[in-house]
């Protein structure tokens, strides 16, 4: 009895430590972004919104934001399509090598980004593709596809397909039944994987660094550059903006499907 009690206490203590360490950089970022000082001192000597104002005036920032968001959105949507089709095939079909296929589909997550970036750059050059936007898109679909495949597959494998059959006996055509029955059930999986995929794409440095050119810079690359050239809390302001966006998305997701469903990764 004592041992069980102690184990539970230890569990919650560790969890508290985990939460603290996870939120610490967030807190630091937010604190620094509203600090009046351009030196990174905590706690901030005075509060100021100057870094946010600076951020809004930064010329190169907005094209980078637009590019990153655009690439993230388009690659996420493409991955949702490709990944879901794949998940359906694995769940409903019977063919040899399913495990190998799934391992393959998820493997880009575990491959070194720099290496994939270099390889892709050389490959695209070989086949003559030089357009940075398209290159970035191709690379980012590779990044986002594993998230979608893994999450949607996990959700689909627990899905009771007799529900679809029931819908068909009630008058829906096969595709319509699939859409009407599966989509609400898969919505949390789409949301989770969409969110993870989007964030992974927005945050990606190793692959992007090889595929960008002078006119097309994604946000992380711009931020690292900025950090090296003139480090000031403007990047903290940019990050805080991203965090705010994510909070909004999480709130919407909670309303729609409940945050609990979001954790099927």
């Amino acid at each position: 009895m004592m041992l069980e009690r102690a184990a539970v206490v230890a569990m919650w203590t560790v969890t508290a430590a985990v939460v603290l360490t996870l939120l610490a950089p967030l807190a630091v970022t937010l604190a620094v972004s509203v600090s009046a000082s351009s030196v990174f001192n905590l706690p901030p000597p005075a509060l100021s919104s100057r870094w946010y104002e600076r951020m809004l005036r930064l010329r190169e920032l907005w094209p980078a934001v637009r590019l990153s968001v655009g690439i993230a959105a388009v690659s996420t949507v493409i991955s949702l399509g490709l990944g879901t089709l794949c998940a359906i095939a694995v769940t409903r079909g019977t063919f040899p090598g399913k495990t190998a296929l799934v391992t393959f589909m998820v493997s880009p997550l575990m491959m070194p980004g720099l290496v994939v970036g270099v390889a892709l750059l050389q490959f695209l050059r070989e086949i003559g593709l030089r357009d940075a936007y398209l290159s970035l898109l191709i690379g980012h679909v590779v990044i986002t596809l594993p998230y979608v495949t893994r999450t949607v597959l996990a959700s689909l494998s627990l899905f009771d397909f007799t529900l679809v059959e029931a819908a068909r006996t009630l008058g829906c055509s096969h595709p319509r039944a699939l859409v009407k029955v599966m989509v609400p059930v898969l919505a949390p999986a789409f949301l989770t994987s969409g969110l993870f995929a989007f964030l992974a794409s927005m945050d990606n440095y190793p692959i992007s660094i090889f595929l960008v050119d002078a006119r097309h810079k994604t946000l992380p690359i711009l931020m690292l550059q900025y950090l090296e050239e003139n480090p000031d809390p403007t990047i903290a302001a940019i990050s805080s903006g991203l965090v705010l966006m994510t909070i909004v998305v999480l709130l919407i997701a909670d309303r729609l499907v409940g945050l609990r469903r979001l954790a099927d990764f």
Binding site: V18, P25, L26, C86, A119, G258
Partner: protein, 294 residues
Amino acid sequence: MSTAPASLSARADLVLAPPRRRLQPVALLALPGAGYLALAFAAPLALLLMASVISEGRPTLAGYRTFLADPFSWTVMANTIRSAGLITLICLVAGYPAAFALARAAGLLQAALLAALVLPLSVGVVVKAFAWTILLRSDGVVNRALVGLGAVDAPVRLLFTESGLVLGAVNVFLPFMVLPIFSVVKLIDPRLLDAAATLGSSPLHRFFRVTLPLTMPGVIAGVAFVFSMSVSMYVIPTLLMGDRFKTLSVLIARSFLFMRDRSVGSTASVMLLLIAVAVVVASALLTRRWQPSR
């Protein structure tokens, strides 16, 4: 065929049943995704591998010989694997209990914990790593806490040390350990634990003989993700360690982005790739051994 109760039939592993004869059209749905990755992912990597063993039109292992003969290369690889191993271990030790806490928490607490896990992913690794440089300074929060708790007498040098790197990386990769384990813990049927208790199994025995084995697929996934991400990380060591600590990624980046000589980069890339592939294969094999299957 088995007529198992419904609860046993809704499991991921049952999806991967032995193949039947005819190829069904639904199987073809996998083609677009798999085909895409084959072209945009597997093919370039294969070409990279091939290119590394060809020099001036002839197959050669010269690049590898040079690389492996240099003690510096071994230092770099040791650094890479050691730090990745340490990061993975800490993530596992901290993440495993956290996954259980997440599963036990209800309602608002659980939602809050989930948000705490997912939100940091949105900060972006660049700023996160940078925030850790602030936290790890001599007058930063971490040191102040250590001194305050009496763990150390004077502020410890954390910036630009491997400890600082490990701390920063653990922070970034923790969600990727907690979430896979959590998704498996959620699925454990509480009646299995009831059954174990009625058979005379004490809480400790139950944990080691029922809970732990059933969470292994999640643990393997978490370890595989975190280890491979740690082995590959670039931004975090760059910002937290600068040039002092060379990992394979740093070496690769320098070679391709800043130096003229690409051969080191190519070889290092392949070595890193081999390590990553080894992790993928090992995790797939281990999962098969630990996943309850027919």
